[in-house]
């Protein structure tokens, strides 16, 4: 049953697109507003959290991943995991050498 559901071509309705559009606009207003409030070390955290929320909405709804195949979901998660791993390794390399000496 779930297998069939997964393979049927799902047409996302314009209503969903409008809701996501509004959510993205609210997110943009929130991130601009938050950037003018001094939250010390939390500024970049909030900033990136809102950006990642917006990106996730785009991926799930505009890019139909929520309604996509398991293969698509697995591909994306594997890609993000690999990217995160590469960043982590790069940072551990740089931070254990002559940090800021160039």
């Amino acid at each position: 049953m779930s297998e069939q559901k997964e393979h049927a071509h799902h047409i996302v309705s314009p209503k969903v697109y409008v809701v996501i559009l509004l959510a993205l606009l609210v997110g943009t207003a929130a991130t601009v507003g938050a950037s003018f409030i001094d939250m010390g070390p939390w500024n970049p955290v909030i900033n990136l959290a809102i950006a990642t929320t917006k990106a996730t909405l785009v991926v799930l709804y505009f890019m139909h991943v929520k309604y996509g195949t398991k293969l698509t979901k697995l591909t994306i998660v594997a890609g993000i995991f690999t990217f995160a791993g590469l960043v982590a390794m790069t940072l551990s390399d740089y931070s254990s050498r002559a940090w800021g000496q160039f």
């Binding site: 071509h9 996501i20 606009l25 943009t28 001094d38 900033n47 890609g79 590469l86």
Partner: protein, 253 residues
Amino acid sequence: MSDSQAIAQGMHPEGSDVHDEHPSYLRHHFNSVEQQADTAGFAMWLFLLTEVMFFGGLFTAYLIYRNWYYAAFVAASHQLDVVLGTMNTVVLIFSSFTMAMGVWCAETKRRKGLIVSLLLTIALGLVFLGIKTVEYREKFEKHHVPGNHYSLQSFINPASDPAATAAGDKPLAVDMAQHTEVYFSLYFAMTGMHALHMIIGIGILVFMVIRAQAGAFTSGHVTFVENFGLYWHFVDIVWIYLFALLYLISRHA
């Protein structure tokens, strides 16, 4: 036995009686339209992952340099115009919406709706590039473009610069001020590569409008529009992060 008969009789697991007729766009090496669409979508996502790695390298460079030359990156980012950046973010979000509507129009076989959606997407893409041009122009005028004519004036003497004064910047020592050039190198590399993706996207959109006018994409075969939509939304996501990291993150630091 012709090829199409072989497909109809030999390759459909459910039996040929269900699929005697198959659409002309179904390639003979696929079992079904769904399998063909899933395969194309998977390939598109693999391409987008290579794009993630490409932009990811630039983002990682930005992350490291921002931590090394923190004061320079904060002062340099104050030179960007948040109002223009916000406008461009909103423009790009709307263009993603019109592109999503284009995909819906293709799926529901609305030819006129598809053409209008694609044209609106092109228009919004051009508005984005127009605003970006205004921003680049200001960088050239203030000599904030890396190279022989780069000027440290705004960072050594912030009182002489309205944007730096408004942000309350303190003067930087010359050696730190020189690192603002690294920020602008990354700024132009990242927004420039993003703009190049937009220009390529607009080119493909024009091609799609011409094909759609001839009746393409609205007769059931929507793969091309769908996969282009993925590309366009990906470019939108890159901008969401560029806006956050280049314009906003150092606003109040």
